[in-house]
């Protein structure tokens, strides 16, 4: 029987080509019509350190990077020792004989990665040797790979032909070695190429593209893992008149600058990770106070403090909700897939412009670096919102209304003072109790404009629900399907719109006896928020720096269900 799903892991030392291998295989397989998803994890250093990447290839859309490995490629001995236990019983290990030798363990064979690559005249083709060997093991036709190599290396330069030839030769050498090893895995099922146009994109790229689609024209950021690619993309994209993208001297500079830019009417964004968001705290409060719209992308990594800069975690939800001192509660949108990274960014801009204030968009390391095939977004169907701009001539008071009101822009009539101190209708400082009441209620009233977000639900009649958020969506979806197969009666809820929650999802969740929230943090930050809204929510947490594995998550949910609703944490 043909297999519909394969997982290949590349493990070794940073700089040995693990990321190139995983991305290359994903690109080749997606061009052939498969669905793909990559995963990578590495230490915080330029070269070296234990690194591994993974590519999952399937005939149907991929939702998690997968648990058990079909093929493990070991670039060094340490990789073999650390990862061999995760290989399936019928899996195969390919190891680099240029680095180490192994006694036969019944599931491994060696390849001289470097030597074979060098023999083609292109020492950089090591990863092609490996991809060729994998393709042989799963009976993937060579024409898929030839097409990929030709496309990838046709760059309009002299020497393109030679590079293409040597890469294809390297794959064939890998194939030949794999064939003579005698190993093989089940044959891979034929791909079903989708009829719609697809792109292969990473989470950070999708955020940048979403910002562009939303009409961003002002970006200031500061380099920080894993958000830096957004800064780099913006600097490349936003050039020319009326566009500004710039690397500031700190996150404090960046946030104040985008507040200034938005004050003049720009659609503004910054992108950072946990430590940067902490530094932005005071200025975010100022933006809430002065009612200045923009988007802050927080690509979460392990924390606190410097934490785990290159590992994944969902531990900034509470900070995103309350990043500043005093009374404020920021709108928070979290992307759960690479595709959602695009649409969530557009939505975040729409929210910011609609309610005239800062919006936090949460992404995660695991989404940021993940390459995935997604349908090419149809830009003509996107709804893009812009703020209500004051266009009168004089005598306007920016903050007079009890609710949201049009925003004057410098250069046009309607002078006012954007004031971080509590202020009167013009923007002058005031200490009057009735004014603080007026302005506080005005600021919070605007959140009502954001309660119409979309959400997913299934089996809503069940009294127990599972509701992941952010990047735990994929593993939770797979776990949920297994649970249904195991006969569990459960509802499914999911939304990108975390604060404020869509009014209808809140209403439904309040009816449940138990809402289980899988999330990657110690404290159960999102379930704590749900409990504060009166929902009987409980977390299943993990804090390893890695995403949930589907098997492990399924087992933990079943254990929890076995315990019933006794002893659960209530409001």
């Amino acid at each position: 029987m043909k297999r519909e799903d394969f997982i290949i892991r590349f493990a070794g030392e940073g700089g040995q080509g693990m990321v190139t291998s995983a991305d290359g295989l994903a690109q080749a397989a997606s061009m052939a019509g498969f669905h793909v998803q990559t995963f990578s994890t590495f230490p915080s250093q330029i070269l070296g350190g234990p690194t591994w990447t993974q590519t999952r290839i399937s005939t149907s859309p991929v939702r998690s990077s997968g648990d058990a490995i079909d093929v493990l490629v070991c670039f060094n001995r340490e990789a073999y020792d650390n990862h061999k236990s995760e290989v399936r019983d019928d899996g195969v290990i390919i190891y680099n004989t240029g680095d180490f030798e192994l006694d036969s363990d019944g599931k491994s064979f060696g390849l001289p990665f470097e030597e074979l690559a060098k023999s083609t005249g292109n020492a950089r083709a090591e990863n092609m040797v490996v991809i060729g060997a994998f393709a042989q093991l799963v009976n993937m036709p060579q024409e898929y790979l030839d097409e990929f190599v030709t496309k990838r290396f046709t760059r309009g330069r002299t020497g393109d032909d030679e590079i293409i030839r040597s890469n294809i030769e390297a794959m064939n050498l890998g194939r030949a070695e794999a064939k003579s090893s005698g190993f093989s895995l089940a044959e891979m099922a034929d791909p079903v190429k989708p009829e719609y146009e697809q792109i292969l994109i990473k989470g950070n790229e999708a955020v940048s593209a979403g910002a562009m689609a939303a009409g961003i024209n002002f970006f200031v950021g500061y380099p920080i893992s894993p958000a830096t690619p957004i800064l780099i993309a913006m600097e490349r994209n936003l050039v020319g008149k009326n566009q500004f993208a710039y690397q500031a001297s700190s996150e404090i500079e960046a946030i104040n600058a985008i507040i200034g830019g938005s004050y003049t009417g720009k659609k503004a964004m910054t992108a950072t990770s946990g430590p940067g968001l902490s530094l932005m705290s005071e200025a975010i409060g100022m933006a809430w106070m002065t009612e200045i719209p923009f988007v802050i992308v927080n690509v979460q990594r392990g924390g606190p403090a410097t934490g785990l800069p290159t590992k994944t975690e969902q531990s900034d939800f509470q900070l995103a909700l309350h990043p500043a001192h005093g009374d404020s509660a920021l709108p928070v949108i979290a992307a759960g897939t690479v595709e959602e990274c695009f649409y969530a960014t557009v939505a975040a801009f729409n929210w910011a412009e609609r309610y005239q204030g800062p919006v936090i968009l949460l992404s995660e390391m695991m989404l940021a670096e993940r390459a995935q095939n997604i349908p090419r977004p149809d830009l003509s169907k996107l709804k893009v919102e812009n703020r209500d701009v004051y266009s009168g001539s004089e005598g306007y008071l920016r903050y007079e209304a009890k609710e949201i009101s049009a925003m004057p822009l410098p250069g046009s009539p309607g002078s006012y003072i954007a004031n971080a101190s509590e202020h009167d209708p013009y923007g002058d400082t005031t200490h009057l109790p009735e004014r603080h009441i007026h302005m506080m209620e005005r600021r919070f009233s605007k959140l009502k404009l954001l309660e119409d977000g979309e959400y997913e639900s299934q089996n809503t009649e069940a009294s127990i629900a599972i509701m992941p958020w952010g990047g735990s969506k994929g593993p939770s979806e797979e776990a949920y399907e297994l649970l249904l197969e195991h006969g569990q009666q459960m509802a499914w809820y999911y939304t990108m719109f975390l604060h404020p929650l869509p009014a209808k999802i809140l209403e439904e969740l309040l009816q449940k006896d138990l809402v289980i929230v899988p999330e990657l943090n110690f404290q159960g930050q999102f379930s704590s928020y749900l409990r504060s809204l009166g929902i009987k929510a409980e977390s299943i947490t993990q804090y390893t720096g890695l995403p949930f594995s589907v098997g492990d998550l399924t087992q933990r949910i079943e254990e929890r269900l076995g315990a019933g609703t006794k002893g659960m944490v209530n409001v």
Partner: protein, 288 residues
């Protein structure tokens, strides 16, 4: 529109130097508007926190736009305003605590970029609004509420600091010299780059330095301030350094880089042959 707002109750103390600075800003802005024929709403005054920051609320006559931001961050905020709409005339008002202490980290990057804004610093050598703590420009040994046994830090020399950081326009003034100050502020607005007009603006409540600055013949105190001699060449960087490193406080235009190229000009210069990317361009490169 001009305003008299009964709800706004902030007042500077009688005799505060900031009254003179405010008047000079109003005069300079008026002259700027007459000269450039721009309407008042094309001007934005950006402030941080401190007695100085309240200038934005106390300006009389036609009202410009204002941004009264958080403590120490007026420069990055002003960068956003200026780069968001380069047609605006952006004026920053700051104090010695706001600009030189908590905001000190923001001066060097703006000097390096040559951001085209004009900064007016009201230096009173003390934290006034929080009632008399020492500031970066408080003299060594001074007893203040936060230095009960005397200040131990060497004071910052602002003009020397600005020259060292490469600020492209450095001027010095005194709050009593309103007309001369207005002229320096106007020149700072006209300068295509980062302009700082540093003003000694005494605090009559916590650090009354009028007699030290102006001198007091009755008590044998020689004046600290003096007018920069007419022969000083403000385009000469070495001469400017010599001036700020000598004794006393020179008043007037210390330095003006004649070849100043602003942040916007530099940015535009690097992008003459670069094409912007659209969302479609991004997707086209990623099509499978």
């Amino acid at each position: 529109m001009s305003k008299k707002n009964p709800e706004y109750d902030f007042k500077w103390c009688p005799g505060c130097g900031d009254f003179g600075v405010r008047r000079a800003i109003e005069m300079a802005m008026q002259q700027w508007m007459v000269k450039t024929e721009i309407p008042v709403e094309q001007n934005v005054v950006v402030a941080g926190i401190g007695c100085s920051g309240n200038t934005v609320h106390l300006l009389e006559g036609q009202q410009p736009y204002g941004f009264h931001g958080i403590h120490g961050r007026s420069l990055p905020l002003a960068m956003g305003v200026k780069m968001g709409n380069p047609d605006l005339n952006v004026l920053v008002v700051a104090g010695d605590g706001d600009f030189l202490s908590i905001g000190g980290e923001h001066i060097a990057p703006q000097a390096a970029r040559n951001l085209d804004v004009c900064v007016v610093i009201m230096d009173n050598g003390v934290y006034g609004l929080t009632k008399g703590q020492s500031s970066p420009t408080t003299e060594l040994g001074t007893i203040t509420s936060s230095t009960p046994f005397g200040k131990i830090e060497t004071p910052v020399h602002p003009l020397n600091l600005f020259m060292t950081l490469g600020v492209s326009f450095v001027a010095s003034s005194f709050s009593s010299k309103v007309k001369e100050m207005a002229d320096l502020i106007l020149q700072g607005m006209e300068h295509p780059g980062f302009a700082i007009v540093h003003v000694n603006s005494p605090c009559t409540t916590y650090n009354d330095t009028y007699s030290i600055l102006k001198g007091d013949p009755k008590n044998n105190i020689a004046p600290l301030v003096y007018d920069i001699p007419a022969e000083h060449d403000s385009a000469d960087r070495d001469a400017a350094f010599a001036l700020v490193q000598a004794d006393g406080i020179p008043l007037g235009l210390v330095y003006k880089d004649p070849d100043s190229s602003s942040f916007e000009q530099r940015l535009a210069g690097t992008m003459t042959n670069v094409k912007a990317r659209t969302t479609d361009d991004i997707f086209n490169a990623l099509v499978i």
